[in-house]
């Protein structure tokens, strides 16, 4: 009896395997918003993965103060990332909200067959399509809407990615992020303000107003910078939704250890910039070596600096001076003019990071000494002195204003006229007050003369009358 029961079970199992999907365990995948990705797959056998994806037409900021009507898979640009395993059967439920205005569908580049599923999934508002496909080949694949006019649907943000993990999985890393580039075409100029309509002619001419990571100017900067720590392996699932531009994707300050070019099986090593086509992807791995900010850009640079294609990875951790030293800046020319070089004169050639303490001496040494020198005597004719400075003593408010807003043009200090540029300093009110008081006491026989509150008032006044 027991024996025949066992036989029956194995027969059922064999039948299930012969049927392909009948015996597969069913998994409902939980989708998360970018830049997050679903967790790595630990399964060692195929499954039937059910994915619910809802098309949402939403109005939101494309840049601070400028809004746009995005068409999205799951409410975000890019759409929610789908993560399955090679050999899985994927049951995709595509919902089109009844409140939407347009029909939509989905073409997944991971699908083998006509239209990548597009003809199977065309849904009017208020309807849903269930489409099942087998993820035959591993890779990182773009999906997108393929409803006419396709350029407009994609141009409004209707793209995302599906990762089909290889059977053996991907190597373990410390962090994974999901970033997609896209070009956007609005009637008004970059950051024009208000609600901007889609500009069909600009799209046809391939002249984007915005080139963005994750669908918004600032989606990955400021508060939204991607966090990391030193010595971590980072994996970026990077895609280009287009509709038109190819990305010259680059991480300023990092060498990519591995790039699975075009989202495929093989990787190149030690890559500086990788080309990602519209409707294509790359799996990028690199190691965070030193603290500071790594900047994601499209190295077609006016896209980065004039159209928004910038993201940041904020790396925290201890300095590694043997990998990344401090720049020592001095006057060019004969040795006699060179200032005395000490550790305290050194400063990063990049805009300085925010000092850790509000100690005036620390701020002075990390920020001011680069130009004004550790002695505060400046460099005659180039950088004015802060020590024994009549200008400083008589115009402490003005000194604070210069630190806040920078200064360009002629200035006379101790009878010598200087004509150069000082950039605005990214310092807090406390730091500015501390450093000015330090300079006052240390180099001008003065006393504590300015309060953080006064600096705050000056900052407010400057903001009101720039």
């Amino acid at each position: 009896m027991k024996r025949s029961h066992l036989l029956f079970c194995s027969l059922v199992l064999a039948w299930g395997q012969a049927q392909g999907t009948a015996a597969l365990p069913t998994i409902h995948e939980t989708l998360v918003a970018p830049p997050q990705v679903p967790p790595p797959i630990t399964r060692k056998s195929p499954a039937r993965v059910v994915v619910d994806l809802t098309v949402e037409e939403v109005e939101r900021d494309i840049a601070p103060g400028t809004s746009y009507t995005f068409w999205t898979f799951g409410g975000s640009v890019p759409g929610r990332m789908i993560r399955v395993r090679e050999g899985d059967t994927v049951e995709l439920h595509l919902h089109n909200l009844a409140s939407n205005k347009l029909p939509h569908n989905i073409d997944l580049h991971a699908v083998s067959g006509p239209g990548g599923g597009a003809p199977q999934t065309l849904v009017a508002p208020g309807k849903q399509a269930n489409f099942t496909f087998k993820a035959l080949q591993s890779g990182l694949y773009v999906y997108h809407c393929a409803t006419a006019p396709v350029g407009m649907h994609v141009g409004n943000g209707m793209y995302g990615m599906i990762l089909v993990e290889p059977l053996q999985g991907l190597p373990k890393v410390d962090r994974e992020y999901y970033v997609m580039q896209g070009d956007f075409y609005t009637s008004g100029a970059y950051r024009a303000g208000g609600l901007q309509p889609f500009d069909m002619q600009k799209a046809i001419d391939e002249k984007p107003t915005y080139v963005l990571f994750n669908g918004a100017d600032g989606a990955l900067t400021g508060q939204n910078a991607l966090p990391a720590k030193t010595g971590e392996k980072i994996r970026l699932f990077f895609g280009d939704g287009g509709p038109n531009l190819t990305s010259s994707f680059h991480v300023i300050g990092a060498i990519m250890d591995k790039v699975y070019t075009e989202g495929g099986t093989h990787y190149q090593q030690n890559v500086q910039t990788t080309m990602v086509p519209a409707g294509g992807s790359a799996i990028i791995e690199f190691t965070t070596r030193v603290p500071g900010k790594l900047t994601l850009v499209d190295h077609s640079l006016t896209r980065a600096f004039n159209k928004g294609a910038i993201g940041l990875i904020d790396v925290a951790g201890a300095n590694q001076p043997e990998i990344y030293g401090k720049g020592i800046i001095s006057a060019d020319g004969p040795a006699g003019a060179a200032p005395h070089i000490t550790d305290s004169t050194a400063v990063n050639a990049e805009p300085p990071g925010k000092p850790q303490a509000t100690n005036g001496k620390t701020v002075f040494e990390t920020v001011c000494a680069a130009c004004h020198q550790a002695t505060a005597l400046g460099i005659p004719g180039v950088f004015p002195p802060l020590a024994g400075s009549d200008f400083f003593k008589e115009n402490l408010d003005e000194a604070a204003r210069i630190v806040l807003g920078g200064r360009a043009g002629p200035i006379t200090v101790k009878g010598v006229t200087y004509n150069s540029v000082m950039p605005p300093q990214s310092l807090t009110d406390q730091e500015i007050a501390a450093v000015l008081n330090y300079v006052s006491k240390e180099f001008n026989d003065g006393k504590v003369a300015i309060t953080p509150e006064r600096v705050r008032d000056l900052r407010t006044a400057k903001a009101a009358h720039p």
Binding site: K101, D107, L122, P125, G126, K127, A148, P149, Q201
Partner: protein, 254 residues
């Protein structure tokens, strides 16, 4: 004799009083956004088109006279869930403006309504020809400003109730062909448009129309392409909040 003639005239007038206005459309050689046939243009005979989309009030009157089209009596085959479900009751509009265009009506219901006016739904070509016009030109389709104005409606989500019909008149005296609702056409499912609109080629196989390829005739007219995409996504019993209709007649039956 004269009295009989007068009586006849009065009778006619009383019928006409409640009747919808149809306007003559000249037709002619026409460049369509649909896949080209063996000729660059299609030839469209003259026809008459309803000046205004059918309103909620007009459809309510139709339902009262034809109770088989009440939402609580219509077979699901002819009208899916959602049919007229914004009404307060099966024969009651509630808060809905009777002058707003009726939507949430199936293709079957729209056809039945048009038959009650002695009309039919327009063909796609009839709709497209009239919709090519703006307030001063019979064919404004190559004007980028006109295109953009059409497009902006599609690109902005619908907030709140639909406004009344009759705000946007074109040179033929037809109102609201754009920027108010989508409209059913008689041959909505015979446009030979593949639901994957990118397919290329010139396959025009009538037997496999679902798989027939689309090579759109006017790739720059995004606004019209979106109409076509919507119609391609619909089934005859679908009842969408933005899909209404108007009717057409042969011109000599006016």
């Amino acid at each position: 004799m004269r009295a009989i003639w007068l009586a006849g005239l009065l009778l006619l007038a009383s019928i006409q009083a409640g009747a919808a206005e149809y306007r003559p459309i000249p037709g002619g050689e026409f460049r369509t956004a649909l896949p080209p046939t063996d000729r660059p243009t299609v030839s469209l005979p003259p026809y008459a088109l309803r000046a205004l989309p059918v309103t909620q009030g007009e459809f309510l009157a139709f339902v009262r006279q034809n109770p088989q089209w009440r939402r609580d009596r219509v077979p699901a085959l002819f009208a899916a869930r959602g049919y007229l479900d914004d009404w307060a009751g099966p024969t009651e509009l509630g808060k809905i403006d009777p002058q707003a265009p009726v939507t949430r009506v199936s293709w079957y219901a729209a056809r039945a309504y048009c038959a009650s006016e002695g009309a039919t739904l327009p063909s796609w070509y009839q709709w497209e020809f009239a919709a090519a016009a703006d307030a001063s030109r019979a064919d404004a389709r190559d004007d980028p400003a006109w295109r953009q104005a059409m497009l902006d409606w599609y690109a902005s989500p619908q907030h709140g109730a639909l406004p009344p019909v009759g705000s946007d008149r074109n040179v033929f005296g037809i109102y609201d062909l754009h920027r108010l609702i989508y409209e059913w056409v008689e041959d909505y499912n015979g446009l030979f448009v593949n639901s994957d609109s990118r397919t290329q080629g010139v396959v025009q196989n009538l037997e496999t129309c679902g798989a027939a390829a689309l090579s759109l005739g006017d790739r720059q007219n995004y606004a019209i392409l979106m109409r076509i995409a919507m119609l391609a996504a619909l089934d005859g019993n679908d009842t969408l909040g933005l899909v209404g209709f108007r009717c057409a007649k042969p011109v000599d039956h006016r």
